[in-house]
């Protein structure tokens, strides 16, 4: 059977490791979090811009979708690898591909969100004397929020997963623990790295989900039939 804990020479988890190397674990966790946040933020900013273009100039929607989809299909190992000769084993080599992978889901969802606003709501807003800026900010954006939040959840969760892969170029946060453990034939860090990254993904997902619900009180109650 599989002894999960205990003093056997090479258990799955050696708990002393957990306590001794807590510093290292903490650092890996923080690095993981930082990379995720940088990548998603960059991705969000670029996506916002691309979405604005796609919404304003309808004909650019298909090409933009094509480009973001194409980026998404490039295998992660390949993309991380290609950047290394140009940017070295740096954070940039990790953040750029990670951000690129979020573009597809974020642009798709932002555009879908704004497209979900009924035309009569827009007409009513204009008719009441809202400037376009006010209408977009106060009416369309809140109504697009559910879609945007969903997109963010997916982007964050998949980025957390991909950050572990970035360990291959030395920027992996918790992924480094995994690789480290593999190299040293020491399983504890592998397990911890893996479990923590899964937990981190779930935690961030829940966090964004909660924030989303807080931001959209009108979408929360069940629809009442009258």
């Amino acid at each position: 059977m599989i002894p999960l804990f205990g003093q056997a020479p090479n258990p799955i988890v050696r708990w002393e490791y957990f306590i001794d190397e807590w510093d290292q674990i903490q650092r890996a966790l923080i690095e993981h979090l930082e990379l995720t946040v940088y990548a998603v933020t960059l991705g969000l900013v670029v996506s916002a811009g691309l979405s604005a273009i796609a919404l304003r100039f309808r004909r650019t929607a298909a090409p933009i979708n094509g480009v973001t989809a194409f980026l998404y299909t490039i295998p992660s190992v390949a993309l991380f690898g290609i950047l290394v000769p140009y940017f070295g084993l740096s954070r940039l080599s990790a953040v750029l591909p990670l951000a690129a992978y979020t573009l597809l889901i974020l642009v798709t969802n932002i555009v879908a969100g704004f497209n979900s606003v009924s035309p009569e709501v827009r007409e009513a807003a204009d008719g009441m004397g809202m400037t376009p800026a006010r209408r977009i900010l106060h009416v369309e954006l809140p109504l697009a929020m559910p879609y945007i939040v969903t997109g963010l959840r997916i982007a964050v969760v998949s980025t957390v997963g991909l950050v572990t892969v970035a360990a291959i170029i030395g920027q992996g946060g918790l992924g480094r623990l995994i690789l480290d453990g593999l190299r040293r034939a020491f399983w504890t860090p592998m397990t911890i790295g893996a479990v923590l990254s899964i937990l981190l993904a779930l935690a961030l997902d829940g966090l964004i989900l909660g924030a989303g619900k807080w931001l959209t009180p009108w979408a929360q109650r069940g629809r009442s039939a009258l």
């Binding site: 009924s118 709501v121 008719g127 009108w218």
Partner: protein, 349 residues
């Protein structure tokens, strides 16, 4: 669209109506410049608003559309407060105004904290009107506002609109495709033909009584005389006593009145309260009129009943006359002949 010239009196309800493609909605939306006119001027209260900042203009004009367009992400109160907030009103003033409007449009206060999707179609329409009136604009534009609700609710909303107008006296421009709705609510009707040609611009009764051309005639329908009957009430007819006597007048007077009117029946009142109709055969000399067998209940109408209703009631009564019940007292008699005569009189106000 061809050019259009329209003068709308302050405090009146003008209805734009016409077949598809006549540009009634386009015209309406040119007033608040959702569609910019290619040439010409729009003047409100003498001020030229054709150019200049458009958002400011629209905040002074109320706008109600068929699907309402309530903001799903805000409560009813939030929706209504939209324009006042844009104009910078303080919280208390906004809150008071919301309560005032809820009362004005007939909205229960408990609904104010709900979201639009929790309300019925009729309630949503009322919110739309409240929202349009929130900043107390002098002008209100309505584009087929009652088209999306069922006929029963629609009738009620139309009545409420008229009551509302009696209280606040806005200048209202309303677009509809329903001629009956137009006839019911309008002070003046602008009938447009395809291409934006104004065929006639006059009060409802005049439109029916004196259509300007064949297009108008066909549009209002062949039953326009009957439609006119809906526009007038019993009170419009001059008082006509008819074959009715007081109980104290006696049988002889009764008989002579019946001869005068060539009527088989005579009506009997006591202290100016109508008691019923008595058939000539049941009159007995020497007996008081009160004791004669009477036919009740009599066909009755109110002063506020439309002539059309009166006509319907008369047709089903065997005395060919309806008694006007003026708060319990005898108010005269209505016959088909009287109704017909009133149509021939000058067209209404």
């Amino acid at each position: 669209m061809t050019s259009l010239n329209l003068n709308i009196e302050e405090g009146s309800i003008v209805v734009l109506i016409g077949p598809s493609g006549c540009g009634k909605t386009t015209t309406l939306r040119m007033i608040n410049r959702l569609i910019e006119p290619t040439s010409g001027r729009i003047e409100i209260n003498g001020k030229d608003v054709t150019h200049g900042p458009v958002a400011e203009l629209r905040r002074e004009i109320g706008y109600v559309i068929q699907q309402v367009g309530l903001f799903p992400h805000q409560t009813i109160a939030g929706n209504i407060a939209t324009v006042p907030k844009m104009l910078g009103w303080e919280k208390q003033r906004v809150s008071d105004r919301i309560d005032e409007l809820a009362d004005l449009v007939g909205l229960e206060p408990s609904l104010l904290d709900r979201y639009p999707d929790e309300l019925s179609g009729g309630q949503q329409q009322r919110v739309g009107v409240a929202r349009a009136l929130a900043a107390d604009p002098p002008v209100l534009l309505m584009d087929e506002p009652f088209g999306a609700v069922d006929p029963i609710v629609r009738t009620r909303l139309q009545d409420e609109l008229l009551e509302l107008q009696a209280r606040v006296g806005k200048t209202i421009v309303l677009v509809t495709h329903d001629i009956d709705e137009a006839l019911k609510v309008a002070d003046r009707i602008a009938l447009l033909n395809v291409g934006g040609i104004l065929e006639q611009y006059s009060p409802a009764d005049e439109l029916l009584a004196e259509p300007a051309n064949q297009f108008v005639e066909e549009f209002v329908g062949e039953d326009r005389s009957v439609k006119r009957l809906q526009l007038r009430t019993v009170a419009d007819i001059p008082f006509h006593r008819g074959p009715v006597v007081a109980a104290t007048d006696g049988v002889a007077t009764a008989r002579s009145i019946m001869r005068e009117y060539s009527s088989e029946w005579v009506g009997v009142t006591s202290q100016n309260v109508f008691l019923g109709w008595v058939h000539g055969e049941d009159l007995q000399d020497g007996l008081p009129l009160e004791s004669a067998p009477r036919s009740v209940p009599a066909a009755q109408v109110q002063p506020g009943s439309t002539l059309r209703n009166a006509m319907q009631i008369i047709m089903t009564s065997h005395t060919s006359a309806a008694v006007i019940d003026n708060g319990g007292l005898f108010g005269g008699v209505v016959t088909l002949e009287l109704i017909r005569a009133s149509l021939e009189a000058e067209t209404g106000p």
